[in-house]
Amino acid sequence: MKYFVILISAIAISISGCNTEKPKTKSVYMLLDTSGTYTKELDKAQKIINYLLATLDSGDSLAVARIDSGSFSEKDIVSKVTFNTRPSVVSDQKRVFKRSIDGFISGVKSSSYTDITGGVLQASEFLNETRADEKIILVFSDLKEDLVKGHMRDFSIPLVDIKVVALNVTKLRSDNVDPRHYLNRVAKWQERVNQGGGNWSVLNDLERLERLISG
């Protein structure tokens, strides 16, 4: 009987051997820049969202919000979801989410201003509420902030344990004239994120997104 117990334990260990690590829950908040001509880039954002939907699983959270004139608001969240524990429900949630995003992208209107800081702040709040193990903010923008007169955004954003990734940071016309504009813009955001305790990175080649999400 003793040998039997040992054998059964050995079977259990061998079967579960590949699953000894506790799976981490992920929470992703994606900010979509809807200012000016950047709306033309949104089809790329749609592909990224689809990729996220295919990758994220039970227990993970996903939210997509737009960056407009005043982004520090729940109204700017296009769609958000925390995936159910049941795989069949997860598939339904993903379908609903996709429909919602498709609807938003097909009818999006350009905003006059670009409040990226407000959006990041809103994202930080959302992610902290989810209490996920891994928190990621994806900023799909050219990182050119244009605030409404009177809006105060010159402060440190709390981004402890949050990974902030700037996606598809397009070069503006002025960047081509003087590339330092682009570099300064990126450096400024990196400094702000690092000041807030976050982890900054830029990802212009969307093929590498897989490494970011799975890693």
Binding site: N19, T20, N50, R95
Partner: protein
Amino acid sequence: MDNLVLTLIRFHSGEAIMNTEMLLLWSDQLPVSLTVWLILVVLAMYLGRCQAHQLITSSSGAIRTLFRLMARSFNRLAIRLNSRNKEIILSHGRDAVEKKIDREFHRVNALVKKDLSGYPAVQRKINDAIERIEEDFSSSIEAPPLPPSWVEGVDTIAKTAKAADPTVALILENINQSLAKAQKEALDEYRKNSQGRHEALKNMLPTWRNVSQQLNEINKNVDGIEGQATVIDKHMEEYESIRNKEDAAVRKLLSSSVTQLFISGLVLIIAIMGGFINFQLIALPMSEMVGGTSQLGPMKTADVAALVIIMVEIAMGLFLMESLRITHLFPIISSMDDNMRKRMLIITLSILTILAGFEASLAYMRDLLALDREALTQSLAGSEIISAEFRWIPSVGQMVIGFILPFTLAFIAIPLESFIQSFRTVLGAVFCQFLQLIDVIFRMAGNIVQRCGHILIRIYDLMIFIPLEIEKQMAGRKIRMKKIKTNIKTNADQLPVLTEEKLS
């Protein structure tokens, strides 16, 4: 950490300075100081030679004794283990052969019941057949027709009065014709009777064949029993050999155990693989029931639940095999009365069937989930959703596998029992060999330590060979001097005698 390293360096550098000072204690010149040190060391070693030799001899002796003691204790343990192992092997072998003999006797019993129980009927049949043959034989005996007694008288009359009277001649002719007719009739009757006898003999043929067939059958049955008896004899010889605790029997049984271990191990590996496939089949749909995110230690609750189901199936399989008395892992089940055992059999079989049905439904659910996920992935990728033809085939296949695997896993009890039994025996034998190896190693180590002691003494003497040589020389000189002195004394004693002799 850095401070610790610095302290260590300082300590070591201080130690080095101290060592240098010690080396240059006798002179500022290193070779001179070293020579003095060497002389002192050699002198000290020479003075303490006896004690050093005693120390080395006693230490090596003590270590050797310790090693030999340990070797002896390991050897005793190995002998005890070997004896115990032998007993277990013989006991298992005896049980197995007893079972074999019992089975053979049952076979013989069945054979006797089946074939020889019908022997009286066969005998009756043979007797009937023989009676029939006798009857037929007696009816087939030829009875030649007797010639009529008046034929000679008639013949004489016919010869004598043939030509006398035509009337008489006519009468005689009529008599002749009647006689010929009577003879013809008698011949016909005889032929008819002969034909009847032939018919009777012909009827005897199938009866003969029947008798021959019956006898052949009896012969075959007797041969079968003889064959069984030969097998029983062989088993009995084996049994005797085991009872006499012969080494050949132990070796044979051990070899059989090793073979069993390998075979059952192989089958168990196959069963584990089957269990793994089963796990893969039900782990995903299990997350639909118990949730996909909850954890139980380092494992997902869904995985644990799937494992539990597989384990329960294996346990049910074990109980089922026990109830059928195929395995004997749980004596409490084997010793149950037949009714209780039958109830247990029905219960375990029912649970196993329910679990198999449950697994089949889970396998179907898994297929549905996989399909749904595939469709979603295609929709997210923006490609057209293609519904594959004959998609029902893998679904049905998964359901069938889900239903069959629990029953297949139930049979794991048979190789498991064999594995446990043979593993115990083989492990005991291996451990015994291991203990004997340790015994040899300790013995060797003891001898090596003793030899090392001897070598150490030689090295010690080699290091102080100069004072030893001086001592040897001095001792030789002392002996020589002593001899000279003895000679002088002898000569001195002999001198007055010689003088007196010369004078006389």
